[in-house]
Every structure is written in structure tokens, then in C-alpha cells.
């Protein structure tokens, strides 16, 4: 297949119009040494039936039959059928950035609604129209905070997802500030540790809640300490948890970021999801990414346009607030549809189901000899870490053989955690599945 409609007659007549003899002639400007003299070494073309067969067989290798308790930043939540049905419409799928508002009102209004939804979800005044993922959103937020405060350093809580931390470190590598870790104590953030961490005039304090280990933190003391220290508080939040938990923006967090994948987006091996970033209006001109705003047309009718573009790379170039151009619009649309379908009650009930099922699972697992909760007394949302008497990788392999993927082996992040499993339980897991998880773990830990 090649999706090229031309026939020989077309080509002939087009070449004649152009005034050259051959298509090759159009490439004559390329210096010979730059040209590839051979055919690329790639597998030959496939027809649509062959292509589908090839990829169907690759996809069939995935063990979709295994019941998964994996989370750690990528979650299985229920996706209503209407999300796919609408977001796959060609007019949304095959448009690009809505630079021409008259030809893009559909996307623009949807993104405006997205911004409003994210603002309401996070308790903030304003949200942009999406970033790549939660981790890059955090990195952008840290950069924002550095500019806003004129300070250099950053405090990051020990409960931050290690890949988020890695991304922030990559983004900050060449400005090389001090990154201090805010230590946790038995999963929680203590006043003492906080005070210590804030000593270095940080631009921002980054706290994730529910954090990587599932632990939920209180925003109020964090906000207060950050404010007292002249730093911005950057909250990293799971959007599903915000159906139930207090909204960090309302409690004074300066910037709220997170990963949008849980909002109606399939896991897809980790991407694409989207990053959201919400903040106060007084920081809006420092925000990265696209913003859609209301505008009146010549008849005074209210519509939507891309606005505050002076922040962006295509106008401001090296002085832009960020380099982002292509964003994650289609995923933001999915989240918009998802949140509209769920509504406040639906989202709350998803959150409550996650909470209840995770707690049931934690109780079941904690009752198994050789299994204990890593942070026995810390509150958690839909995810928790358990310490095993055995190597987590082995236990996981044994469980998979019985059709259960019991959790993420945290040894992949830290050898010291090689006996720890991070177990996520969303509304998609049934009691029967959780009971099976408990049975399988009991067997594997005992064996």
C-alpha cells in the first residue's frame, strides 16, 4: 500500500506543467553525496490484509488474559464506549492545531471545556490545553516556579514517582540546581523533615499525593510550609483521586500537575496519556503550552481562539515559556468526554470504588503470613506497597503463571526494594479477582 493516487498520465502532465522531464529531475538539487544510491533495507510492502495479520499476531502475544494489579502511574480504569465513539471521529482525529479559529471551533471549544474541567478538578483557576505526560508537566511546573520565584533550587518529596523525578532531573540537568529530597517517615511527611528540606531557599516543593507508594498526604501543612519558605507548592495528583480527595488548588497549591491517562485513556504500554498543568491566574503568562480563550467575533458572538500565544515558541522563540508545540490534544478530548460522562457523582464513585477495593485487598494481603504492608499506618488511595518474605520478581512470575499479575516489582526502581510489590486496585478489579490475588500470593510466598 502507498496511498498515492497518481497514475502515469497524471505524472506526465504534472511534470510537463512543472517543466521537467522526470520526477528524478526534481531531486537534482540534492548533492550526489547526500543521496542514497540503494533501496532502503526494510521489509517489503504489505497489503492491508497482510498488515493486519502481522500486527494482530504481534498483539496476540500480549497476555491480556492475565488479571493485572499493576499501576505505578498507569492504571486500568473503565472507559465508557462513548469515549472511543466520539474521539475517533475524523474531524477530531485528523485536524491539527486550531490556528485558524473559524475552521476549528470544534476542537477549540472542546479544549476550552477541557481547561475548565481540569481547573475544577484540581481546584485551580486555570489549566492549559495539555502537555505530553505527567512527568513533563511536572518538569515544566518546576521551570515555571523557578522563573516565578527567581530562585534556583527544588525540593522533591521522596514519594514522587521515580520516573517523574528522573524527568525533572533531566530537564534541570543543565541548570544544575540543588535538588533536595524531602524524606518520608514510614510513608508520611513529617514536620521536621519538611522544615529541613525547605532550608535552602527553594523555588518549589514538589509533593505527589497519592504518592508513588499510594500514600495520601495532607496538603494544608505542605502549602503553609512552602508559603512560609517563599517557595511554590507543586502538587502532583492522580485525577481519579480528585473525585474524592480535597483539591490541592483550593487548599493553596500553586501549581497542580498530573498524568491524565486514568481519564478515559487506554494504557497503551505507557503512552500516549497527557500531562495537565493548572495554576493561579496570576501565573498564567508563565504557563507552558496552548491556551484556548473566549473571544468575540465581528458580530459580537462568543467563540474560541488560541490565546496568549505570545508565551509560545512560534512567537517568542528562545524566550518562550516552553518549547512545546504539538501537544496531547486528542487525549485531552478523551478526558473531556470521560469527565463529562462521569460527572461529579460518577467520578466520585470511581474514586470510592478504588478506595474500597484497594483497602479490601490490602486487608486480605496483610493477613497472609510472609506479606506485610510497607506503610502500615499511612493512609492510601488505590495503591499500596507490600513487603514479601520472598523476592518480588519470583513471586510475580509465579503468580503470572496462575493468571495474576500481582503488582509492580519495585526492585526495578531500587534494588533495596526487591522484595516489595506495589499493588494497584482500581474499580475494574472484582472481589473474586482480589480473592484470587490473595490466594495466589499466599501460595507463592509460602512455596
Amino acid at each position: 500500500m502507498n496511498y498515492i493516487p497518481h497514475d502515469a498520465d497524471d505524472v506526465r502532465s504534472m511534470l510537463k506543467t512543472i517543466g521537467v522531464d522526470s520526477v528524478d529531475a526534481l531531486f537534482e538539487g540534492l548533492p550526489p553525496e547526500a543521496r542514497l544510491a540503494r533501496e532502503m533495507k526494510l521489509p517489503p510492502a504489505l497489503t492491508e490484509p497482510e498488515l493486519r495479520a502481522r500486527f494482530a499476531s504481534l498483539a496476540a502475544e500480549t497476555r491480556t488474559d492475565v488479571v493485572s494489579f499493576l499501576g505505578a502511574g498507569c492504571y486500568e480504569h473503565f472507559i465508557p464506549a462513548a469515549v472511543d465513539a466520539i474521539s475517533s471521529r475524523g474531524e477530531f482525529l485528523t485536524a491539527y492545531t486550531p490556528y485558524q479559529p473559524e475552521a476549528s471551533q470544534g476542537s477549540l471549544q472542546a479544549f476550552f471545556e477541557f481547561q475548565t474541567l481540569i481547573a475544577r478538578l484540581t481546584g485551580c483557576e486555570v489549566s492549559n490545553a495539555s502537555l505530553y505526560d505527567g512527568a513533563t508537566a511536572l518538569a515544566e511546573a518546576v521551570l515555571m516556579a523557578r522563573h516565578a520565584t527567581g530562585r534556583e533550587n527544588v525540593v522533591i518529596s521522596a514519594g514522587l514517582h521515580p520516573e517523574y523525578r528522573a524527568v525533572v532531573e533531566t530537564y534541570l540537568r543543565n541548570v544544575a540546581p540543588e535538588i533536595r529530597t524531602l524524606a518520608h517517615d514510614a510513608g508520611r511527611i513529617g514536620a521536621e523533615a519538611l522544615k529541613e528540606a525547605l532550608a535552602g531557599e527553594p523555588a518549589a516543593v514538589v509533593v505527589q499525593s497519592p504518592d508513588f507508594f499510594g500514600v495520601v498526604h495532607h496538603w494544608e501543612p505542605l502549602v503553609k510550609s512552602a508559603r512560609d519558605a517563599g517557595a511554590l507548592l507543586i502538587a502532583v495528583a492522580d485525577p481519579i483521586s480528585l473525585g474524592l480527595l480535597k483539591r490541592p488548588g483550593e487548599l493553596g497549591a500553586d501549581i497542580v500537575v498530573g498524568e491524565g491517562q486514568p481519564l478515559g485513556i487506554p494504557r497503551s504500554f505507557g503512552g500516549p496519556g497527557f500531562g495537565f498543568l493548572a495554576t493561579r491566574m496570576d501565573l498564567v503568562r508563565r504557563m507552558p503550552g496552548r491556551l484556548v480563550g473566549e473571544a468575540l467575533d465581528r458580530h459580537g458572538r462568543k467563540g474560541y481562539v488560541l490565546t496568549l500565544q505570545a508565551r509560545e515558541q512560534h512567537i517568542r522563540r528562545e524566550r518562550a515559556t516552553s518549547n512545546i508545540c504539538t501537544n496531547h490534544a486528542l487525549l485531552a478530548l478523551r478526558a473531556t468526554i470521560y469527565l463529562s460522562l462521569m460527572g461529579p457523582k460518577g467520578l466520585r464513585s470511581v474514586a470510592e470504588l478504588c478506595l474500597a477495593k484497594a483497602h479490601y485487598a490490602a486487608e486480605r494481603l496483610a493477613a497472609i503470613p510472609g506479606v506485610r504492608l510497607r506503610f502500615k499506618d499511612a493512609p492510601f488511595f488505590c495503591e499500596f506497597a507490600v513487603e514479601l518474605l520472598k523476592d518480588a520478581a519470583k513471586v510475580r512470575a509465579g503468580a503470572i503463571a496462575q493468571g495474576i499479575d500481582p503488582g509492580v516489582d519495585l526492585g526495578r526502581f531500587d534494588p533495596a526494594l526487591s522484595r516489595t510489590l506495589l499493588v494497584a486496585v482500581t474499580e475494574c478489579r472484582t472481589k473474586a479477582e482480589i480473592d484470587r490475588l490473595a490466594d495466589v500470593l499466599r501460595k507463592e510466598v509460602a512455596s
Binding site: 517489503p44 475524523g90 504500554f269 460518577g346
Partner: protein, 485 residues
């Protein structure tokens, strides 16, 4: 009939999707979490029925121009047809439902991504690929960080990035983000970089030069190999912005003409849909010398040929995002590459260039190209001739909307006055191009005879002539309930 916002459709108590009852023994949330964590009320999401949601967003969609519904010759964006089969493939449960930390349970997916990495190496002529970056700009940043890590490993402190004045805005912005100082290099009168200009900027402080090739004027940088040589002699690296790879697929490879590192925009060159602004995917490809510094993990193969995720890259710059990349997009691109094969990909370039030159030639009289001679996959015309009639390129763009054609990119690159950047892509037929020409000539005629038709355009859309200045001055970025009257 303008569509109200989803918030205006909201009615208290109305439900969309409902969740099942809890099937585990459970206590209320307030007993599972300590006091002070739970919000009194859930967030103020709209309360709407599924029927409302479906109608609302379906109607909104109809207010868009898109590739599926309109010719969309948006320069620099490669708005080609996005094959439907790739949508079906990306949606296969084995791909869509795979968890990133269960790579062991998705060997076929790992294989597909390893094959994609290899194909991109062969297409670019580079040694190793990282699939992590989420878009072109992200790839630029990642690459520049790789370059910096490379120099750091050699104890070099180079801090300057050379960027042509015709470059896309992401180039200088990415440099800034990577902590590099941008120096702008002027394009020559012919729209090309010249060795001589370059030499003026070269020094031991230059880390990298970012070059888009074909450049944003749609021209191939003829002296690219010499430029690469000089950069290399000065100890600097050549970064290739691969946004325009559609023009040279299978014809020329950055690795062969001297690039050290580059990004690809899979959402341009490899036919993945643009999604109303994204997501894309911006893999980067580098030479062997730079490979140790790539973000980890990298899709690789072990001695037995088995694909695996290689995390063991001690010199890596680290991660630029979570997990492995925009896999949903990567899979579509992998399928596209497999569908077309080496000849099909080469034909993409050939016909993309043919289409652009055909339009260039047919429009030349009324819309002179900024630069003489053949172009590659796109060309930049200027709307200047219409200035005499008080008509700007913006007016031409808006008038195209009235004829059901998405406007080309306008006012970019910055070095062309009243720029009109036209990229038809290879998937458009001669008939579509001919209709575009017909419309453009008609508009030229209108511009001369009744310019008010253009100044007032678009006249067929629901909205027209937004006051963008006022919108930016007092931004309204979220929907607010009307003040109680």
C-alpha cells in the same frame, strides 16, 4: 446555531455513566481515610446524560476542518491521509491494554517497537534510536541534552547553538530549555545556508547547529555535507530537524549527509493522525558516538536476536518522560512503515515533491514563490503582490475557508514577507490540486477586483474575525457561570 458549552447543558442530578455497586465488604470512605483528606463535594463537573455528551461532541466535531473532510495543505505539518487500518491496529487489545511494567507479558509489542527503531535507523542512516520523545520539540530537547552530555563526557563546555533564521520556533526554544545560547544564522538570498555565513559563527564554543533539511522554505540545503564537515572540524555537532523528512524518504538520509543527531515527527512523515493538535511522536536518532547518551531505556536486541528494553545505559541523560514513548502513535507509524515498504516510502517523497512543484508552477504567476527554482515537498509563496489592493496573506487564508479548503501555514518562516507555506503531501490527487489552484486563482482575481470579499472572509462559517487582541488582553480561559442577574 452555536453549541452551548457542556457546562451550560448541565442539570443537577443528571447522570451519564454510572458505576457498579461495590462488591467488596467495605466501609464508607470517611472510615478508610483519616479526617481532613476527603473533599466535601466532588469537583463541579457537568451533570449531563450520555445522550447530551454524544450529541454535544458530535456537533462540535462538525465545526472542524480536517484531513478526512477537507484538503489541508498546512505547510510544515505534512497533513497527509491517515490510514484507517492503523487506527484499528493501535486499538488491538494486545497493544492498547498492555501495561508498561509488564513488558514480559507483551513480547510482540516489544518486538514491534524494536523493529520500528531499526526501521527508523535505516530510514535516517543513523545508528541508534530512542522512541521516548512525545513530539518534535521534545525530540529536539532530548537531542540537545544528549549533545550536551556528549560534550560533558569529553570535558568540553560548549554552550552555543546555531539556529538559522528560517528555523521553526521550537528550535531556539529547545536550545534555551537545554541551557544553550542561541545564535541566529542568516539564510542567504537564495534561502539557503552558506558555508561563508556559517564560518562567521563557528568557534570552539559552538556545541551544535540545528538545521532543518529540506529547510522551512522547502529547499534542500545543498551545502549540507560541507556544512557538516566544517561543523565537525570545529568539534561541533549537526542536529537535523527531521520535520521535513517526507521530502527525502529513501532518497537521502541525514546520517549520510553528516547529521549527528536528529528527530523525526512520526505524526508528519509517517502518517499518524494529528489529533487536533497531538499526540505525535518525536523519536530521535543519533550516531554511534552519541548513542551512549540517549534517554534510557532503548529498544534493542540481545545476542539471540530477542527484542528487549535496554535500561543498562550508564551514560544516558536519563528519562525525558515516563515509560517508553507514545506507543499508541509508534505502533501506527510502525504499521505505516510496514505497509509502504522501502519503495512505497521512497514514492512518498517523490510524489510529495511532485505535488508541491506542480502547485508551485501553477500558482507562480499570481503567488510568486519566495525562492526561485524547484522546491521539495512544500514551497513558500508570498502574498505581497496583493498588498496594492490592501490584501494580506491572512485575508487569502480566510477566503480559502469559504471555498472549503484549510489555509496553508501563514507568516512562517519569518524571513518571508506575507508568507504562504503550501504543503500538499503525496496523498492528494491531481484533481484536488487542480481545484486548489482554481480556487487560489479565483481568490487572486477577487483580491484584485473585489478585495472586500477577502477582507470580510470567511463568510460561510459560523464565526468570523475574532477579536484576538481583546481575548488576550482579558483572557477568559475557563467557562464561568453567568453572574446572577
Amino acid at each position: 446555531m452555536s453549541e452551548p458549552t457542556i457546562f451550560e447543558l448541565s442539570r443537577p442530578g443528571r447522570r451519564g455513566v454510572e458505576m457498579p455497586a461495590c462488591d467488596v465488604p467495605s466501609r464508607p470512605a470517611a472510615q478508610l481515610l483519616p479526617a481532613g483528606l476527603i473533599a466535601e463535594a466532588p469537583p463541579a463537573l457537568p451533570e449531563v446524560a450520555e445522550r447530551d455528551v454524544v450529541m454535544h461532541f458530535t456537533r462540535l466535531s462538525r465545526a472542524n476542518f480536517s484531513v478526512d473532510t477537507h484538503f489541508y495543505p498546512l505547510g510544515s505539518c505534512t497533513m497527509k491521509y491517515n490510514p484507517k487500518v492503523n487506527e484499528a491496529i493501535a486499538a488491538l487489545a494486545g497493544f492498547a491494554e498492555a501495561h508498561p511494567y509488564a513488558a514480559d507479558l507483551a513480547p510482540g509489542l516489544v518486538e514491534a517497537l524494536a523493529e520500528l527503531s531499526e526501521a527508523l535507523c535505516e530510514i535516517t542512516g543513523m545508528a541508534v534510536v530512542s522512541l521516548q520523545p512525545a513530539a518534535g520539540a521534545h525530540g529536539e530537547l532530548a537531542s540537545l541534552l544528549v549533545a550536551r552530555a556528549y560534550f560533558a563526557s569529553r570535558g568540553e563546555k560548549r554552550k552555543i547553538a546555531l539556529v538559522p533564521d528560517s528555523a521553526h520556533g521550537t528550535n531556539p526554544a529547545s536550545c534555551a530549555l537545554a541551557g544553550l545560547e542561541v545564535q541566529t544564522v542568516k539564510s542567504g538570498a537564495n534561502g539557503l545556508l552558506s558555508l561563508r555565513d556559517l564560518e562567521r559563527h563557528l568557534s570552539g564554543d559552538v556545541a551544535v547547529m540545528m538545521i532543518t533539511n529540506p529547510n522551512t522554505l522547502g529547499l534542500f540545503e545543498k551545502e549540507i555535507a560541507e556544512i557538516a564537515r566544517e561543523l565537525h572540524e570545529a568539534g561541533a555537532l549537526l542536529y537535523l530537524d527531521g520535520a521535513n523528512m517526507n521530502a527525502i524518504l529513501g532518497v537521502a538520509r541525514p546520517g549520510d549527509f553528516g547529521a549527528d543527531l536528529m528527530h523525526l515527527n512520526l505524526h508528519k512523515t509517517f502518517g499518524t493522525p494529528h489529533g487536533g493538535g497531538g499526540p505525535g511522536a518525536g523519536p530521535i536518532a543519533v550516531t554511534a558516538a552519541l548513542a551512549p547518551f540517549l534517554p534510557a531505556p532503548v529498544f534493542s536486541r540481545d545476542a539471540s536476536g530477542e527484542a528487549f528494553l535496554d535500561f543498562n545505559r550508564p551514560q544516558s541523560i536519563g528519562r525525558v518522560r515516563t515509560f517508553y514513548g507514545n506507543v499508541g502513535i509508534l505502533i501506527r507509524a510502525a504499521a505505516y512503515i510496514r505497509a509502504l515498504g522501502p519503495r512505497g516510502l521512497r514514492d512518498v517523497a517523490r510524489y510529495a515533491v511532485l505535488n508541491a512543484n506542480y502547485l508551485r508552477a501553477r500558482l507562480a504567476e499570481k503567488y510568486p514563490a519566495a525562492m526561485a527554482g524547484a522546491c521539495m515537498h512544500e514551497f513558500v509563496a508570498t502574498g505581497e503582490p496583493f498588498a496594492a489592493h490592501g490584501v494580506k496573506t491572512l485575508d487569502i487564508a480566510k477566503r480559502l475557508i469559504d471555498y472549503g479548503i484549510h489555509p496553508p501555514t501563514i507568516y512562517f518562516p519569518l524571513i518571508v514577507h506575507e508568507a504562504l507555506m503550501v504543503e500538499p503531501t503525496e496523498t492528494e490527487s491531481k484533481e484536488t490540486l487542480d481545484r486548489f489552484v482554481e480556487v487560489m486563482l479565483k481568490i487572486a482575481d477577487e483580491a484584485e477586483k473585489s478585495p472586500e470579499l477577502l477582507k470580510s472572509a470567511p463568510n460561510t462559517t459560523e464565526f468570523s474575525h475574532f477579536d484576538e487582541v481583546a481575548a488576550a488582553r482579558k483572557p477568559r480561559l475557563t467557562w464561568q457561570p453567568p453572574a446572577a442577574g
